[in-house]
Amino acid sequence: MTCLPSQGGKKLGLVIDLDTCVGCQACATACKEWNTGGHMAPLTDIDPYGGTVDGVWFNRVHAYEHTTEMGGRTVNFPRSCLHCETPACVTVCPTGASYKRASDGIVLIDEDKCIGCKLCSWACPYGAREFDTDVGVMKKCTLCVDRIYNDNLTEEDRVPACVAACPTSARHFGDLGDPRSAVSQLVAERGGVDLMPELGYHPTNKYLPPRAHTRRAASVPAKALEPVRAEGGFLGWVDRMLSN
Protein backbone atom coordinates (compact mmCIF):
# COMPACT_ATOMS: atom_id res chain seq x y z
CA MET A 1 0.00 0.00 0.00
CA THR A 2 1.35 3.37 -0.95
CA CYS A 3 -0.96 5.21 1.43
CA LEU A 4 1.20 6.36 4.32
CA PRO A 5 0.89 4.32 7.52
CA SER A 6 -0.34 6.01 10.66
CA GLN A 7 2.98 6.61 12.26
CA GLY A 8 4.01 4.80 15.38
CA GLY A 9 6.47 6.45 17.72
CA LYS A 10 9.66 5.14 16.18
CA LYS A 11 11.42 7.19 13.51
CA LEU A 12 14.81 5.79 12.65
CA GLY A 13 17.10 8.13 10.80
CA LEU A 14 20.44 9.86 10.51
CA VAL A 15 21.86 13.06 11.91
CA ILE A 16 24.63 14.50 9.76
CA ASP A 17 27.10 16.99 11.17
CA LEU A 18 28.11 19.50 8.51
CA ASP A 19 30.64 20.98 10.92
CA THR A 20 32.82 17.91 11.16
CA CYS A 21 32.27 16.25 7.78
CA VAL A 22 35.55 16.42 5.88
CA GLY A 23 34.16 15.14 2.58
CA CYS A 24 36.37 12.05 2.54
CA GLN A 25 33.71 9.96 0.73
CA ALA A 26 34.19 7.08 3.19
CA CYS A 27 30.43 6.90 3.87
CA ALA A 28 29.58 6.81 0.16
CA THR A 29 32.15 4.10 -0.48
CA ALA A 30 31.13 2.00 2.52
CA CYS A 31 27.48 2.36 1.50
CA LYS A 32 28.21 1.21 -2.02
CA GLU A 33 30.23 -1.73 -0.77
CA TRP A 34 27.62 -2.96 1.71
CA ASN A 35 24.55 -2.33 -0.38
CA THR A 36 25.78 -3.78 -3.64
CA GLY A 37 25.40 -7.07 -1.78
CA GLY A 38 22.53 -6.01 0.46
CA HIS A 39 18.74 -5.67 0.46
CA MET A 40 18.62 -3.73 -2.85
CA ALA A 41 21.55 -5.44 -4.54
CA PRO A 42 23.11 -4.90 -6.95
CA LEU A 43 24.08 -1.23 -7.15
CA THR A 44 24.79 -1.56 -10.83
CA ASP A 45 27.67 0.29 -12.44
CA ILE A 46 27.47 1.01 -16.14
CA ASP A 47 30.74 1.34 -18.05
CA PRO A 48 32.73 1.46 -14.77
CA TYR A 49 36.13 1.79 -16.40
CA GLY A 50 35.06 3.85 -19.42
CA GLY A 51 34.61 7.50 -20.15
CA THR A 52 30.87 7.56 -19.45
CA VAL A 53 30.85 5.83 -16.08
CA ASP A 54 27.47 5.84 -14.38
CA GLY A 55 25.91 3.83 -11.61
CA VAL A 56 23.58 3.63 -8.65
CA TRP A 57 24.68 5.20 -5.37
CA PHE A 58 22.51 5.73 -2.30
CA ASN A 59 24.72 8.39 -0.83
CA ARG A 60 26.54 11.20 -2.62
CA VAL A 61 28.86 13.74 -1.00
CA HIS A 62 28.77 17.26 -2.44
CA ALA A 63 31.02 20.18 -1.59
CA TYR A 64 29.75 23.75 -1.34
CA GLU A 65 31.22 27.13 -0.65
CA HIS A 66 29.05 29.00 1.81
CA THR A 67 29.81 32.72 1.80
CA THR A 68 28.28 35.08 4.35
CA GLU A 69 29.37 38.42 5.81
CA MET A 70 31.41 36.37 8.29
CA GLY A 71 33.53 35.05 5.42
CA GLY A 72 33.49 31.94 3.28
CA ARG A 73 33.92 28.30 4.11
CA THR A 74 33.78 24.93 2.46
CA VAL A 75 30.91 22.73 3.56
CA ASN A 76 30.94 19.05 2.69
CA PHE A 77 27.45 17.76 2.26
CA PRO A 78 26.43 14.09 2.16
CA ARG A 79 23.05 13.61 0.49
CA SER A 80 20.90 10.49 0.81
CA CYS A 81 17.29 9.48 1.51
CA LEU A 82 15.91 11.39 4.50
CA HIS A 83 13.17 8.80 5.24
CA CYS A 84 10.58 11.59 5.24
CA GLU A 85 7.47 11.43 7.40
CA THR A 86 5.18 12.49 4.54
CA PRO A 87 7.08 11.36 1.46
CA ALA A 88 5.32 11.92 -1.86
CA CYS A 89 7.72 9.38 -3.38
CA VAL A 90 5.59 6.73 -1.66
CA THR A 91 2.12 8.07 -2.38
CA VAL A 92 2.77 8.63 -6.10
CA CYS A 93 3.87 5.02 -6.63
CA PRO A 94 1.20 3.28 -8.72
CA THR A 95 2.22 -0.28 -7.89
CA GLY A 96 2.71 -0.35 -4.15
CA ALA A 97 6.41 -1.06 -4.64
CA SER A 98 7.32 2.02 -2.58
CA TYR A 99 6.27 1.91 1.02
CA LYS A 100 6.97 3.40 4.41
CA ARG A 101 7.23 1.01 7.31
CA ALA A 102 4.86 1.69 10.18
CA SER A 103 7.22 0.04 12.67
CA ASP A 104 10.25 2.31 12.25
CA GLY A 105 9.48 4.80 9.46
CA ILE A 106 12.02 3.42 7.00
CA VAL A 107 11.08 4.06 3.34
CA LEU A 108 11.76 1.07 1.11
CA ILE A 109 11.11 -0.25 -2.40
CA ASP A 110 9.90 -3.76 -3.15
CA GLU A 111 11.99 -4.47 -6.22
CA ASP A 112 9.73 -7.32 -7.32
CA LYS A 113 6.78 -4.94 -7.69
CA CYS A 114 8.52 -1.90 -9.16
CA ILE A 115 7.68 -1.28 -12.83
CA GLY A 116 10.37 1.37 -13.24
CA CYS A 117 7.98 4.22 -14.05
CA LYS A 118 10.40 6.65 -12.33
CA LEU A 119 7.60 8.82 -10.98
CA CYS A 120 8.88 8.42 -7.40
CA SER A 121 12.22 9.91 -8.39
CA TRP A 122 10.38 12.94 -9.79
CA ALA A 123 8.41 13.23 -6.56
CA CYS A 124 11.51 13.19 -4.32
CA PRO A 125 12.85 16.75 -3.98
CA TYR A 126 16.19 15.52 -2.65
CA GLY A 127 17.33 13.29 -5.50
CA ALA A 128 17.50 10.30 -3.19
CA ARG A 129 16.19 7.75 -5.68
CA GLU A 130 18.30 6.44 -8.52
CA PHE A 131 17.10 4.26 -11.36
CA ASP A 132 18.97 1.07 -12.14
CA THR A 133 18.88 0.98 -15.95
CA ASP A 134 20.23 -2.55 -15.97
CA VAL A 135 17.62 -4.15 -13.71
CA GLY A 136 14.88 -1.69 -14.75
CA VAL A 137 13.80 -0.78 -11.22
CA MET A 138 14.23 2.14 -8.83
CA LYS A 139 16.72 1.94 -5.95
CA LYS A 140 17.33 3.93 -2.81
CA CYS A 141 18.87 3.99 0.66
CA THR A 142 17.47 1.28 2.95
CA LEU A 143 18.97 2.76 6.13
CA CYS A 144 20.78 -0.59 6.08
CA VAL A 145 17.74 -2.58 7.26
CA ASP A 146 19.92 -5.61 6.73
CA ARG A 147 22.49 -4.35 9.27
CA ILE A 148 20.56 -2.54 11.97
CA TYR A 149 18.43 -5.58 12.88
CA ASN A 150 21.09 -8.14 12.00
CA ASP A 151 21.75 -10.54 14.89
CA ASN A 152 24.79 -11.94 13.10
CA LEU A 153 26.59 -8.65 13.63
CA THR A 154 27.99 -7.51 16.93
CA GLU A 155 25.92 -4.90 18.71
CA GLU A 156 28.17 -1.97 17.78
CA ASP A 157 28.04 -2.94 14.10
CA ARG A 158 24.25 -2.75 13.98
CA VAL A 159 24.33 0.73 12.48
CA PRO A 160 24.17 1.80 8.83
CA ALA A 161 27.42 1.18 6.94
CA CYS A 162 27.93 4.94 6.38
CA VAL A 163 27.75 5.62 10.12
CA ALA A 164 30.20 2.84 10.89
CA ALA A 165 32.65 4.14 8.29
CA CYS A 166 32.74 7.84 9.09
CA PRO A 167 36.23 8.68 10.45
CA THR A 168 35.14 11.98 12.00
CA SER A 169 31.90 10.69 13.54
CA ALA A 170 29.94 13.20 11.49
CA ARG A 171 27.11 10.69 11.05
CA HIS A 172 24.82 9.56 13.85
CA PHE A 173 22.08 6.95 13.77
CA GLY A 174 19.14 6.60 16.10
CA ASP A 175 15.47 7.07 16.88
CA LEU A 176 14.43 10.62 16.11
CA GLY A 177 10.90 9.88 17.30
CA ASP A 178 12.16 9.58 20.87
CA PRO A 179 13.02 13.01 22.31
CA ARG A 180 15.33 11.42 24.89
CA SER A 181 17.47 9.54 22.39
CA ALA A 182 21.08 10.65 21.89
CA VAL A 183 20.37 11.77 18.32
CA SER A 184 17.32 13.82 19.32
CA GLN A 185 19.35 15.52 22.04
CA LEU A 186 22.15 16.24 19.61
CA VAL A 187 19.67 17.84 17.22
CA ALA A 188 18.20 19.95 20.02
CA GLU A 189 21.62 21.02 21.28
CA ARG A 190 23.10 21.90 17.88
CA GLY A 191 19.96 23.31 16.25
CA GLY A 192 19.61 20.56 13.64
CA VAL A 193 17.57 21.51 10.58
CA ASP A 194 15.30 19.96 7.95
CA LEU A 195 16.23 20.27 4.28
CA MET A 196 13.66 22.13 2.13
CA PRO A 197 11.16 22.35 5.00
CA GLU A 198 8.92 24.53 2.79
CA LEU A 199 8.00 21.52 0.65
CA GLY A 200 6.39 19.79 3.62
CA TYR A 201 7.94 16.33 3.32
CA HIS A 202 9.01 16.44 6.99
CA PRO A 203 12.35 14.66 6.62
CA THR A 204 13.37 12.42 9.51
CA ASN A 205 17.10 12.93 8.92
CA LYS A 206 18.49 16.15 10.33
CA TYR A 207 21.54 18.21 9.40
CA LEU A 208 23.63 19.97 12.03
CA PRO A 209 24.79 23.34 10.68
CA PRO A 210 28.49 24.25 10.82
CA ARG A 211 29.41 25.95 14.11
CA ALA A 212 29.72 29.75 14.10
CA HIS A 213 33.04 31.35 13.20
CA THR A 214 35.03 32.11 16.39
CA ARG A 215 37.54 34.62 14.93
CA ARG A 216 40.18 32.78 16.97
CA ALA A 217 43.32 32.16 14.95
CA ALA A 218 45.25 28.97 15.49
CA SER A 219 48.10 29.52 17.99
CA VAL A 220 51.56 28.50 16.73
CA PRO A 221 54.01 27.52 19.50
CA ALA A 222 57.25 27.49 17.41
CA LYS A 223 59.44 30.62 17.34
CA ALA A 224 59.28 32.70 14.18
CA LEU A 225 62.18 32.12 11.79
CA GLU A 226 64.88 34.80 11.61
CA PRO A 227 65.00 36.89 8.48
CA VAL A 228 67.84 36.10 6.09
CA ARG A 229 69.61 39.37 5.38
CA ALA A 230 72.96 40.13 3.79
CA GLU A 231 75.73 40.66 6.40
CA GLY A 232 78.00 43.67 6.04
CA GLY A 233 81.73 44.11 6.90
CA PHE A 234 84.52 41.54 6.72
CA LEU A 235 82.32 38.47 7.48
CA GLY A 236 79.95 39.62 4.80
CA TRP A 237 82.80 39.90 2.32
CA VAL A 238 83.96 36.33 3.24
CA ASP A 239 80.37 35.06 2.90
CA ARG A 240 80.00 36.63 -0.57
CA MET A 241 83.38 35.28 -1.71
CA LEU A 242 82.60 31.77 -0.49
CA SER A 243 79.11 31.83 -2.04
CA ASN A 244 80.43 32.67 -5.49
Partner: protein, 311 residues
Protein backbone atom coordinates in the same frame (compact mmCIF):
# COMPACT_ATOMS: atom_id res chain seq x y z
CA UNK B 1 13.11 17.67 -16.75
CA UNK B 2 14.26 15.38 -19.52
CA UNK B 3 11.67 15.42 -22.34
CA UNK B 4 11.44 11.69 -23.07
CA UNK B 5 9.78 11.28 -26.45
CA UNK B 6 7.55 8.44 -25.22
CA UNK B 7 5.97 10.70 -22.58
CA UNK B 8 5.77 13.75 -24.86
CA UNK B 9 3.98 11.66 -27.49
CA UNK B 10 1.83 9.88 -24.91
CA UNK B 11 0.35 13.02 -23.36
CA UNK B 12 -0.21 14.73 -26.71
CA UNK B 13 -1.78 11.72 -28.41
CA UNK B 14 -4.03 10.66 -25.54
CA UNK B 15 -5.08 14.29 -24.97
CA UNK B 16 -6.28 14.57 -28.57
CA UNK B 17 -7.76 11.06 -28.54
CA UNK B 18 -9.78 11.61 -25.37
CA UNK B 19 -10.96 15.01 -26.61
CA UNK B 20 -12.21 13.45 -29.83
CA UNK B 21 -13.77 10.50 -27.98
CA UNK B 22 -15.66 12.81 -25.61
CA UNK B 23 -17.03 14.91 -28.49
CA UNK B 24 -18.03 11.88 -30.56
CA UNK B 25 -19.63 10.24 -27.54
CA UNK B 26 -21.79 13.22 -26.70
CA UNK B 27 -22.56 14.51 -30.21
CA UNK B 28 -22.93 11.06 -31.78
CA UNK B 29 -25.11 9.62 -29.03
CA UNK B 30 -27.40 12.67 -29.20
CA UNK B 31 -27.58 12.32 -33.01
CA UNK B 32 -26.09 15.76 -33.59
CA UNK B 33 -23.57 13.90 -35.74
CA UNK B 34 -25.65 11.48 -37.83
CA UNK B 35 -24.62 7.80 -37.64
CA UNK B 36 -22.63 6.87 -40.69
CA UNK B 37 -20.49 3.76 -40.87
CA UNK B 38 -17.35 5.20 -42.44
CA UNK B 39 -17.49 8.46 -40.52
CA UNK B 40 -17.94 6.59 -37.26
CA UNK B 41 -15.37 3.96 -38.14
CA UNK B 42 -12.68 6.47 -38.99
CA UNK B 43 -13.60 8.83 -36.13
CA UNK B 44 -13.69 6.20 -33.39
CA UNK B 45 -10.70 4.45 -34.96
CA UNK B 46 -8.76 7.70 -34.78
CA UNK B 47 -9.83 8.44 -31.20
CA UNK B 48 -9.19 4.96 -29.83
CA UNK B 49 -6.07 4.58 -31.99
CA UNK B 50 -4.53 7.77 -30.58
CA UNK B 51 -5.38 6.66 -27.05
CA UNK B 52 -4.02 3.15 -27.52
CA UNK B 53 -0.86 4.37 -29.26
CA UNK B 54 -0.28 6.85 -26.44
CA UNK B 55 -0.79 4.26 -23.73
CA UNK B 56 1.51 1.80 -25.51
CA UNK B 57 4.18 4.45 -25.91
CA UNK B 58 3.96 5.26 -22.19
CA UNK B 59 4.58 1.64 -21.27
CA UNK B 60 7.70 1.87 -23.44
CA UNK B 61 8.97 4.35 -20.84
CA UNK B 62 8.83 1.70 -18.10
CA UNK B 63 11.84 -0.23 -16.87
CA UNK B 64 9.71 -3.36 -16.42
CA UNK B 65 6.75 -3.12 -18.85
CA UNK B 66 5.75 -6.75 -18.23
CA UNK B 67 4.66 -5.75 -14.73
CA UNK B 68 2.54 -2.81 -15.91
CA UNK B 69 -0.65 -4.45 -14.62
CA UNK B 70 0.52 -3.75 -11.08
CA UNK B 71 -0.02 -0.05 -11.73
CA UNK B 72 -3.81 -0.48 -11.33
CA UNK B 73 -3.52 -1.28 -7.65
CA UNK B 74 -2.72 1.96 -5.83
CA UNK B 75 -5.55 4.22 -6.98
CA UNK B 76 -6.19 5.31 -3.41
CA UNK B 77 -3.03 7.41 -3.30
CA UNK B 78 -1.45 7.60 -6.75
CA UNK B 79 -2.63 9.75 -9.67
CA UNK B 80 -0.64 7.57 -12.03
CA UNK B 81 -2.55 4.52 -10.84
CA UNK B 82 -5.84 6.43 -11.13
CA UNK B 83 -4.90 7.35 -14.68
CA UNK B 84 -4.33 3.69 -15.47
CA UNK B 85 -7.67 2.65 -13.97
CA UNK B 86 -9.59 5.50 -15.62
CA UNK B 87 -8.03 4.93 -19.04
CA UNK B 88 -8.85 1.22 -19.05
CA UNK B 89 -12.33 1.74 -17.58
CA UNK B 90 -13.12 4.27 -20.33
CA UNK B 91 -12.59 1.61 -22.98
CA UNK B 92 -15.76 -0.20 -21.77
CA UNK B 93 -18.38 2.49 -22.53
CA UNK B 94 -16.29 3.63 -25.50
CA UNK B 95 -16.40 0.11 -26.94
CA UNK B 96 -20.16 -0.21 -26.36
CA UNK B 97 -20.78 3.19 -27.92
CA UNK B 98 -18.62 2.22 -30.86
CA UNK B 99 -20.62 -0.98 -31.43
CA UNK B 100 -23.99 0.75 -31.20
CA UNK B 101 -23.19 3.94 -33.08
CA UNK B 102 -20.77 2.69 -35.71
CA UNK B 103 -21.88 -0.86 -36.40
CA UNK B 104 -25.64 -0.68 -35.73
CA UNK B 105 -26.26 2.96 -36.73
CA UNK B 106 -28.05 3.52 -33.43
CA UNK B 107 -28.42 6.71 -31.45
CA UNK B 108 -30.28 7.60 -28.27
CA UNK B 109 -31.09 5.08 -25.53
CA UNK B 110 -28.22 2.95 -24.31
CA UNK B 111 -25.94 4.20 -27.08
CA UNK B 112 -26.38 7.77 -25.89
CA UNK B 113 -25.72 6.67 -22.31
CA UNK B 114 -22.61 4.75 -23.34
CA UNK B 115 -21.44 7.81 -25.31
CA UNK B 116 -21.98 10.04 -22.32
CA UNK B 117 -20.15 7.63 -20.01
CA UNK B 118 -17.26 7.44 -22.48
CA UNK B 119 -17.10 11.25 -22.49
CA UNK B 120 -17.06 11.36 -18.69
CA UNK B 121 -14.36 8.68 -18.62
CA UNK B 122 -12.32 10.68 -21.13
CA UNK B 123 -12.54 13.85 -19.05
CA UNK B 124 -11.67 12.00 -15.85
CA UNK B 125 -8.67 10.37 -17.51
CA UNK B 126 -7.34 13.69 -18.80
CA UNK B 127 -7.78 15.13 -15.28
CA UNK B 128 -5.76 12.30 -13.76
CA UNK B 129 -2.99 12.87 -16.32
CA UNK B 130 -2.91 16.56 -15.48
CA UNK B 131 -2.84 15.81 -11.75
CA UNK B 132 0.21 13.55 -12.09
CA UNK B 133 2.16 16.65 -13.07
CA UNK B 134 0.27 19.23 -11.01
CA UNK B 135 0.84 17.25 -7.81
CA UNK B 136 4.65 17.17 -8.03
CA UNK B 137 5.90 19.73 -5.52
CA UNK B 138 9.60 19.53 -6.49
CA UNK B 139 8.78 20.98 -9.93
CA UNK B 140 7.40 24.48 -9.41
CA UNK B 141 6.49 25.02 -13.07
CA UNK B 142 4.14 22.01 -12.90
CA UNK B 143 2.92 22.36 -9.33
CA UNK B 144 0.72 25.31 -10.26
CA UNK B 145 -2.92 26.05 -10.87
CA UNK B 146 -2.21 26.34 -14.59
CA UNK B 147 -1.35 22.70 -15.18
CA UNK B 148 -4.65 20.85 -14.78
CA UNK B 149 -6.77 23.33 -16.82
CA UNK B 150 -4.07 23.26 -19.51
CA UNK B 151 -4.47 19.51 -19.96
CA UNK B 152 -8.27 19.86 -20.19
CA UNK B 153 -8.21 22.85 -22.55
CA UNK B 154 -5.62 21.30 -24.88
CA UNK B 155 -7.54 18.03 -24.96
CA UNK B 156 -10.80 19.80 -25.89
CA UNK B 157 -8.96 21.99 -28.39
CA UNK B 158 -7.13 19.23 -30.27
CA UNK B 159 -10.21 16.98 -30.05
CA UNK B 160 -12.49 19.54 -31.64
CA UNK B 161 -9.99 20.50 -34.37
CA UNK B 162 -9.68 16.79 -35.20
CA UNK B 163 -13.46 16.34 -35.22
CA UNK B 164 -13.81 19.35 -37.50
CA UNK B 165 -11.27 17.89 -39.91
CA UNK B 166 -13.15 14.60 -39.88
CA UNK B 167 -16.59 16.14 -40.50
CA UNK B 168 -15.26 18.48 -43.18
CA UNK B 169 -13.73 15.45 -44.86
CA UNK B 170 -17.21 13.93 -45.09
CA UNK B 171 -18.64 17.27 -46.23
CA UNK B 172 -20.59 17.45 -42.98
CA UNK B 173 -18.78 20.46 -41.57
CA UNK B 174 -20.72 22.84 -39.37
CA UNK B 175 -20.08 26.49 -38.69
CA UNK B 176 -20.81 25.88 -35.01
CA UNK B 177 -18.01 23.35 -34.72
CA UNK B 178 -15.64 25.52 -36.74
CA UNK B 179 -16.35 28.46 -34.46
CA UNK B 180 -15.92 26.25 -31.39
CA UNK B 181 -12.59 24.93 -32.67
CA UNK B 182 -11.32 28.43 -33.31
CA UNK B 183 -12.46 29.67 -29.92
CA UNK B 184 -10.88 26.71 -28.13
CA UNK B 185 -7.63 27.27 -30.03
CA UNK B 186 -7.62 30.93 -29.01
CA UNK B 187 -8.37 29.89 -25.43
CA UNK B 188 -5.48 27.42 -25.53
CA UNK B 189 -3.19 30.10 -26.90
CA UNK B 190 -4.19 32.54 -24.17
CA UNK B 191 -3.76 29.88 -21.49
CA UNK B 192 -0.30 28.97 -22.75
CA UNK B 193 0.78 32.62 -22.83
CA UNK B 194 -0.53 33.13 -19.30
CA UNK B 195 1.30 30.00 -18.13
CA UNK B 196 4.59 31.16 -19.62
CA UNK B 197 4.14 34.57 -18.04
CA UNK B 198 3.45 33.01 -14.68
CA UNK B 199 6.41 30.64 -14.89
CA UNK B 200 8.80 33.35 -16.03
CA UNK B 201 7.90 35.50 -13.03
CA UNK B 202 7.89 32.58 -10.61
CA UNK B 203 9.62 33.20 -7.30
CA UNK B 204 10.51 29.81 -5.95
CA UNK B 205 10.94 29.57 -2.18
CA UNK B 206 13.25 26.58 -2.51
CA UNK B 207 16.86 27.52 -3.25
CA UNK B 208 20.38 26.29 -2.58
CA UNK B 209 20.13 27.63 1.00
CA UNK B 210 17.03 25.68 1.96
CA UNK B 211 18.28 22.65 0.02
CA UNK B 212 21.45 22.46 2.11
CA UNK B 213 20.11 23.96 5.33
CA UNK B 214 22.88 26.59 5.21
CA UNK B 215 21.33 29.89 6.29
CA UNK B 216 22.09 33.23 4.67
CA UNK B 217 24.69 34.32 2.16
CA UNK B 218 25.35 32.36 -0.99
CA UNK B 219 25.79 28.62 -1.45
CA UNK B 220 27.88 27.73 -4.47
CA UNK B 221 28.50 24.21 -5.69
CA UNK B 222 32.26 23.60 -5.51
CA UNK B 223 32.44 19.98 -6.47
CA UNK B 224 29.98 17.34 -7.62
CA UNK B 225 30.10 13.90 -6.02
CA UNK B 226 30.83 12.41 -9.45
CA UNK B 227 32.61 13.46 -12.61
CA UNK B 228 30.11 12.16 -15.19
CA UNK B 229 26.39 12.71 -15.57
CA UNK B 230 24.35 10.33 -13.42
CA UNK B 231 20.67 9.31 -13.47
CA UNK B 232 19.62 12.42 -11.57
CA UNK B 233 21.28 14.78 -14.02
CA UNK B 234 20.12 12.88 -17.08
CA UNK B 235 16.52 12.59 -15.90
CA UNK B 236 16.01 15.78 -13.89
CA UNK B 237 18.92 18.06 -14.60
CA UNK B 238 17.94 18.67 -18.23
CA UNK B 239 18.65 22.27 -19.23
CA UNK B 240 17.54 24.12 -22.29
CA UNK B 241 19.27 27.25 -23.56
CA UNK B 242 17.20 30.40 -23.18
CA UNK B 243 17.48 31.19 -26.85
CA UNK B 244 16.24 27.74 -27.86
CA UNK B 245 13.35 28.00 -25.51
CA UNK B 246 12.37 31.40 -26.97
CA UNK B 247 12.53 30.00 -30.50
CA UNK B 248 10.54 26.90 -29.58
CA UNK B 249 7.88 29.05 -27.92
CA UNK B 250 7.50 30.91 -31.21
CA UNK B 251 7.24 27.65 -33.14
CA UNK B 252 4.61 26.41 -30.69
CA UNK B 253 2.55 29.55 -31.10
CA UNK B 254 2.66 29.45 -34.88
CA UNK B 255 2.01 25.73 -35.33
CA UNK B 256 -0.37 24.98 -32.49
CA UNK B 257 -2.41 28.17 -32.40
CA UNK B 258 -1.88 30.85 -35.06
CA UNK B 259 -1.79 28.67 -38.16
CA UNK B 260 -4.79 26.50 -37.18
CA UNK B 261 -6.89 29.61 -36.42
CA UNK B 262 -6.03 31.13 -39.80
CA UNK B 263 -6.71 27.87 -41.67
CA UNK B 264 -10.00 27.37 -39.86
CA UNK B 265 -11.03 30.95 -40.61
CA UNK B 266 -10.31 30.34 -44.29
CA UNK B 267 -12.32 27.11 -44.09
CA UNK B 268 -15.37 29.17 -43.11
CA UNK B 269 -15.33 30.86 -46.51
CA UNK B 270 -14.47 27.94 -48.78
CA UNK B 271 -16.56 25.14 -50.36
CA UNK B 272 -16.13 21.41 -49.79
CA UNK B 273 -12.90 19.95 -51.07
CA UNK B 274 -10.89 23.04 -50.10
CA UNK B 275 -12.53 23.31 -46.72
CA UNK B 276 -11.68 19.68 -46.02
CA UNK B 277 -8.05 20.06 -47.05
CA UNK B 278 -7.56 23.18 -44.94
CA UNK B 279 -9.25 21.55 -41.92
CA UNK B 280 -6.98 18.54 -42.14
CA UNK B 281 -3.95 20.81 -42.46
CA UNK B 282 -5.11 22.74 -39.38
CA UNK B 283 -5.30 19.51 -37.39
CA UNK B 284 -1.86 18.36 -38.54
CA UNK B 285 -0.29 21.75 -37.75
CA UNK B 286 -1.91 21.84 -34.33
CA UNK B 287 -0.86 18.34 -33.32
CA UNK B 288 2.75 18.96 -34.40
CA UNK B 289 2.69 22.27 -32.53
CA UNK B 290 1.38 20.51 -29.43
CA UNK B 291 4.28 18.04 -29.59
CA UNK B 292 6.65 21.02 -29.43
CA UNK B 293 4.57 22.54 -26.63
CA UNK B 294 4.73 19.32 -24.60
CA UNK B 295 8.47 18.97 -25.25
CA UNK B 296 8.92 22.48 -23.84
CA UNK B 297 6.64 21.67 -20.89
CA UNK B 298 9.27 19.14 -19.84
CA UNK B 299 12.40 20.97 -20.96
CA UNK B 300 11.50 24.19 -19.14
CA UNK B 301 10.52 22.46 -15.90
CA UNK B 302 13.18 22.63 -13.21
CA UNK B 303 13.43 19.99 -10.51
CA UNK B 304 14.72 20.92 -7.05
CA UNK B 305 17.46 18.26 -7.26
CA UNK B 306 19.27 20.47 -9.79
CA UNK B 307 19.92 22.90 -6.90
CA UNK B 308 22.29 20.37 -5.37
CA UNK B 309 24.32 20.49 -8.56
CA UNK B 310 24.41 24.27 -8.72
CA UNK B 311 22.16 24.34 -11.77
Amino acid sequence: MHPAFSVVFFTTATGAGYGLLALLGVLGGAQIIPPDFWLGFIGMGLALGLIAAGLLSSTGHLGRPERAWRAFSQWRSSWLSREGVASVATFVPAGLFCIGWVFFDRTGGWVAIAGLLAAIGAIVTVCTTGMIYASLKPIAQWHSRYTLPAYLIFSAMTGSVLLNALLQGFALGSRMLLAASMLLTLLGWGWKLATWRYNDALEIATNANTATGLVGGTVRSLEWPHTEENYLLKEMGFRIARKHSARLRQITQVLAFALPVLLLAATLALPWPFAAVLSVLAAIAQLSGMLVERWLFFAEAKHTVSLYYGR
